[in-house]
């Protein structure tokens, strides 16, 4: 897994490439933590190149969403979600908890 972090004016984009499983989810969590610890709570997770995400990865998403939504200070949104991962998010009941955008431009532009 590879993580690219792009700090923009009004939000941060985390682009994940590859597999998010128990081996790699900690790296994703670390990036997300760095962002919220910097006092930034508007995050776009760009999943265009994610091959696979297990419940370990979903755990990071939900944990970060809880922190970001607190005091209405921001939120995590998703972009470019592949069909397979969309099915997982639906099974997990995540689709009502995250705004999902077709592309990263729309996701960034929503903030």
């Amino acid at each position: 897994m590879e993580i690219l972090h792009n700090e923009l004016k009004r939000c941060d984009v985390i682009k994940i490439n590859g597999r998010v499983d128990s081996a790699t989810a900690p790296k994703f969590a670390e990036t997300a933590n760095e962002i919220v610890e910097a006092g930034r709570f508007r995050i776009v997770v760009d999943m265009d190149d994610v091959d696979f995400i297990s419940s370990a990865g979903l755990r990071v998403l939900i944990g970060t969403q809880k922190i970001c939504r607190r005091y209405n200070r921001g939120e995590v949104v998703l972009a470019n979600v592949p069909a397979t991962i969309m099915a997982s998010l639906e099974l997990a009941g995540f689709t009502p908890l995250f705004k999902i955008f077709n592309d990263a431009v729309a996701a960034v532009g929503n903030f």
Binding site: R19, D21, S22, A23, F52, S54, S55, A56, L58, R59, I62, G63, Q65, K66, R69, A83, T84, A87, S88, L91, A92, G93, L97
Partner: protein
């Protein structure tokens, strides 16, 4: 006279040797490669194959985290066979056993604040596979998961 092993073979049965992996999280990607191979051989479409990958990943993560209580404590034995319209995957460990029937289902349709981050593993296994069964024989725990075609 055929050997005893060969005698158990049925028509449409593909036998593949068991592969043993170290009980570490970096084995997950390697196990996933075998799962891809199995799904392809079985002829699964991509979404179903993604589901099988998920079920196996969750099962192996649980073995490391819960059965062994951490990385580097034991091994995971992976095996698959194709029996007619069934892809049968087994995972074996010799860690701590558990009773899956006593594990509560995760609460899926709750507001964010009540939503738990964990508890999706067994749920995913049942959602993506057609059959999931677990037995402990002596020190060995065997998880069997079956995916059917169509």
């Amino acid at each position: 006279m055929p050997s005893p092993q060969l005698a158990t073979f049925k028509a449409g049965y593909t036998w593949v040797p068991t592969v043993k992996f170290p009980g570490r999280y970096d084995s997950l990607a390697k196990i996933a490669e075998l799962v891809h191979k199995a799904s392809q051989e079985f002829g699964l479409e991509p979404l179903a194959a993604y589901g099988v990958e998920t079920a196996v990943d969750e099962a192996c993560s649980n073995i490391i985290e819960h059965a062994y209580g951490g990385e580097g404590k034991g091994t995971i034995e992976f095996n698959y066979r194709i029996e007619g319209d069934s892809l049968v995957i087994t995972l074996q460990d010799d860690g701590k056993g558990f009773n899956p029937n006593k594990v509560p289902k995760p609460k899926i349709n709750v507001p964010l604040k009540q939503r738990q981050g964990n508890g999706l593993g067994l749920y995913f296994m049942h959602q993506w596979m057609d059959e999931v069964s677990y037995q402990s024989i002596g020190k060995t725990n065997i998880l069997t998961m079956i995916k059917r075609k169509g």
